[in-house]
Amino acid sequence: MSTSIAPRVDTSEAISIAHGGGGEMMRRLIDEHIIPRLGNRFLNPLDDSAVFNPTNKRTAFTTDAFVVQPLEFPGGDIGRLALCGTINDLAVMGATPIALSLAIVVEEGLSFTLFDRILDSVAETAAEANVVVATGDTKVIERQNGDGLIITTAGIGEIRDDANLGQSRIDEGDVVIVTGRIAEHGLAVLSVREGLSFQTQIVSDVAPLGGLVASIFDSGADVKFMRDPTRGGLAGVLADACEASNLSIEVEESSIPLSPSARHTAEVFGLDPLTVANEGKIVVVCPVDDADRVLQACRTHRLGHHAALIGQFKKEEPSLVELITEAGGRRIVQRPYGEELPRIC
C-alpha cells in the first residue's frame, strides 16, 4: 500500500499557494531556491523565453511528464528521472541535448527541504549530462491527495550527422543488444512503494545516456535503431520493433542481463522482468557484423558493463517476438497491456 507520501510541514518551511502567485513570494522561491542551483546564462535573465541561434543540423525535440511515487527512491528521485527521461529520449534519436525546459507543479505543503533536494538532484544530473535548464516554470496547487510534485521536461538536441536511425532500416539478420541489466528502475520504485525490503536493495538505474550513446556511435557501428526501454520494458520495445519491421525477433532468455536480486524481486511481485521499466538502458539494433563494436563500446563505458547480445531478427511469418526460454522451450513475448497488477498467489 502507498504509505510513502511526501512529508508535509505546516510552517514557513513548506511551499504554500502564495509561492505560485506570481508575486514577491514567487520571486523569492526562484531567487533563493531555483537560480542558485540551476542558474545559467539562458535561465538567469528570467525572460519569457530562452533564445538560441539556430544551427544547420537536424534538431530533435521531445517532452515528457513525470509523476513517480515516492518522489525519492533508491538510486534517484523525480528530479533526476525527469531530466534523464528527456535527455535519453533525445539520445536514442542520436541527438546531443542543447537545452531543457523544466516545469514543476508542486502541491501546497511540500517541504522546502525536499524541494531543494530534488532541485539539487536536477542540477547534478544536468551537470552530469552537460546540458542546461534554459527555461522553466513553477505552479503551486492546493493541497489534495495528490502526488506532491509533478515535473514536465522538454528538450531540444542536435542530431549527429552520422545518425541514421529508423525501424524501417531493420533487416533480417540484424541483432538486438541491450546495454545492461534490465528491470531495475521499476522494481526499485515498486519495492519502496510496497514497503518490501530485501537483503540486497535494488537500485534504480536512472542515468543520462548521452555519453553511452556517443560511445556507441563513435565505435563506427551502423546503428539502425535505438530506444530506451522505459514503461513497457524490454518487451514493449521488442514488440514495437517487430511490428514496425514486419520481421520476427528470436530472443535468448539466458542472455538477457538480469541481476539475481532483480529476478527474485520480480518473482515476489509476480512480474515478468521483460515488462518492467528501465531508466538507464538502451536497446540497440545493428547488423550482426557490427555487434562486437557496439558491445565493446558499451562494456568500456561505466553505464554499459553488462551489455549483451540478446536476439536476432528473422524472416518468419507471422512476425512475432519469440523467447527461447532458459529451460530451452519457446514462448512468445507480448507488449504488456497497461498497469501490471499484483498477483494473488
Partner: protein
C-alpha cells in the same frame, strides 16, 4: 544454452512416453498453467501429452454474482474496497471494480489483507471491505487478517468471501466425467498447507494419479514424468516430488487458524454451480466480519457474457484458443471473461505466452 538437467529430463520424458497412448493431465492450479507457458516447458512436452488447465485460478472461479456484489458494495458511501490487483478488471454485469474506481469509488489494490486491516484502523469513519478470493494458499492470510482486526477491536473491517477448496473441485470434475483426465499435477503451494493426504479421495474414489510438484521447470517436468510412469503402471498414487516444501502433515499452524475463523461450506463456482463443501465461510463467531451481512447484499445469479467460454475453459472442457472470442473480441486489454484477466487465468496465459507449435500467435489478431 539449455541447462543439462532440463535436457536430461526432457529426454527421460520422451523415453517414458514412447509408444504410450495419448494422455491428458490436468494442472489444477493457475500458477502451474502460467509457469508451463512462461517457462516454455509446455513447448517441450511430447505430442502424446496434453495439459488441461483446471479450476485453479481464484479470480476465474469466483461466480459472476460475487463480482457484481463487490461492485455494488464499492458504490456505497464511506466504503473502501481493498483487493488483490487481479480482481480489479474482472468484468461484472455493470462494470468492473476498475470502472467503479473511475466513477469515484474508493477501490485500492493491496498485496496483503493485513494492509486492509491497517487501513480500517487508520480510517474508523470508513467501512473497509477486503475481497477475499483464493484457495487454501491465501485463505490463511485472510484468517490472520480477521484475527488481527478482532485484536484491534475494529468494527469497520469486513471480508467479502469467495474462498475455495481445491480437492472438492477436482472431485466434482471427476464425478461429472465430461473431461477425460489421466492424472493431476497438484499445486505445490496449496499442498504446503493441506498436505499430500488431502488428495486421498481422488486416488481412492477415482483412481487417478496425483503428483505434487513445485513451479520451477525442473519440478514440472519431473511431475509429468511421474504421472506418465503411473499411467504406464496403471497405478494411482499420491506422489510428493516437492518434499522440501510440502510435508506430510501440511502446515498445521495455518490449518489451525483457518479452522478457527472459517468453516467448510457449500460454495458456488463459476459455471460449475454449487459444489458441496467446496468453500470456506466465516464461522458464526466471526459473522460480524462478513460483508454480505453488513451490507445486506445478495450474490446474484451466475452468468457468462454471450459467447464467452470462461466457464468451460476453467473446467478444462474448452481450450482458450477454441473460444470464439479469444484474441478477437477478448484480450487482456479488453477482457470479456475472468480467464483473460487473472494473472493465473488460462486465457491470459495463452494470450501472453501462447505458442501452439505452428507459430500461430495471437499478437496479430490483437492488432486488428
Amino acid at each position: 544454452m539449455i541447462p543439462n538437467r532440463i535436457q536430461d529430463l526432457v529426454q527421460t520424458l520422451n523415453r517414458v512416453c514412447d509408444s504410450l497412448a495419448p494422455m491428458a493431465f490436468m494442472e489444477v492450479c493457475g500458477t502451474h498453467t502460467v509457469s508451463f507457458q512462461r517457462s516454455g516447458v509446455k513447448s517441450l512436452l511430447p505430442d502424446n501429452i496434453r495439459l488441461i488447465s483446471g479450476p485453479g485460478c481464484p479470480v476465474c472461479v469466483s461466480p459472476q454474482g460475487y463480482i457484481d456484489a463487490a461492485c455494488e458494495i464499492a458504490s456505497y458511501p464511506a466504503t473502501t474496497i481493498c483487493t488483490y490487483g487481479d480482481m480489479l478488471r474482472v468484468p461484472g454485469r455493470h462494470g468492473s471494480l476498475l470502472q467503479k474506481r473511475a466513477d469515484g469509488a474508493d477501490v485500492r489494490v493491496v498485496y496483503s489483507p493485513i494492509d486492509a486491516v491497517r487501513l480500517a484502523d487508520e480510517h474508523p469513519e470508513r467501512a473497509v471491505v477486503f475481497i477475499a478470493v483464493g484457495f487454501e494458499t491465501t485463505v490463511g492470510g485472510h484468517a490472520a487478517a480477521v484475527l488481527e482486526a478482532q485484536d484491534r477491536g475494529l468494527d469497520n473491517f469486513f471480508l467479502l468471501t469467495s474462498q475455495k477448496l481445491v480437492v472438492p473441485a477436482m472431485m466434482a470434475l471427476l464425478a461429472e466425467g465430461e473431461v477425460c483426465i489421466d492424472g493431476f499435477l497438484c499445486p505445490g503451494h496449496v499442498s504446503v498447507i493441506i498436505g499430500p493426504n488431502a488428495y486421498v479421495p481422488v486416488v481412492q474414489t477415482h483412481r487417478k494419479p496425483c503428483v505434487i510438484a513445485g513451479f520451477e521447470p525442473e519440478q514440472m517436468l519431473r511431475g509429468i514424468i511421474q504421472l506418465v510412469r503411473q499411467v504406464a503402471q496403471h497405478a494411482a498414487r499420491i506422489e510428493n516430488i516437492y518434499p522440501v516444501a510440502v510435508r506430510r502433515e501440511g502446515n498445521p499452524v495455518a490449518v489451525r487458524i483457518i479452522n478457527e475463523v472459517f468453516e467448510p461450506a457449500d460454495s458456488e463456482w463459476r459455471a460449475m454451480g454449487t459444489i458441496p463443501v467446496s468453500g470456506l465461510s466465516l464461522r458464526t463467531e466471526y459473522q460480524q466480519f462478513d460483508a454480505l451481512e453488513r451490507f445486506d447484499v445478495d450474490l446474484g445469479p451466475d452468468y457468462d457474457a454471450p459467447g464467452c467460454c470462461c466457464g468451460q475453459v476453467l473446467q478444462g472442457k474448452v481450450e482458450p484458443r477454441d473460444c470464439p472470442l479469444f484474441a478477437i473480441e477478448c484480450s487482456p486489454s479488453n477482457p470479456i471473461g475472468p480467464c483473460m484477466v487473472g494473472s493465473e487465468g488460462s486465457c491470459a496465459a495463452a494470450f501472453k505466452y501462447g505458442h501452439d507449435g505452428t507459430r500461430r500467435a495471437c499478437i496479430s489478431s490483437d492488432r486488428r
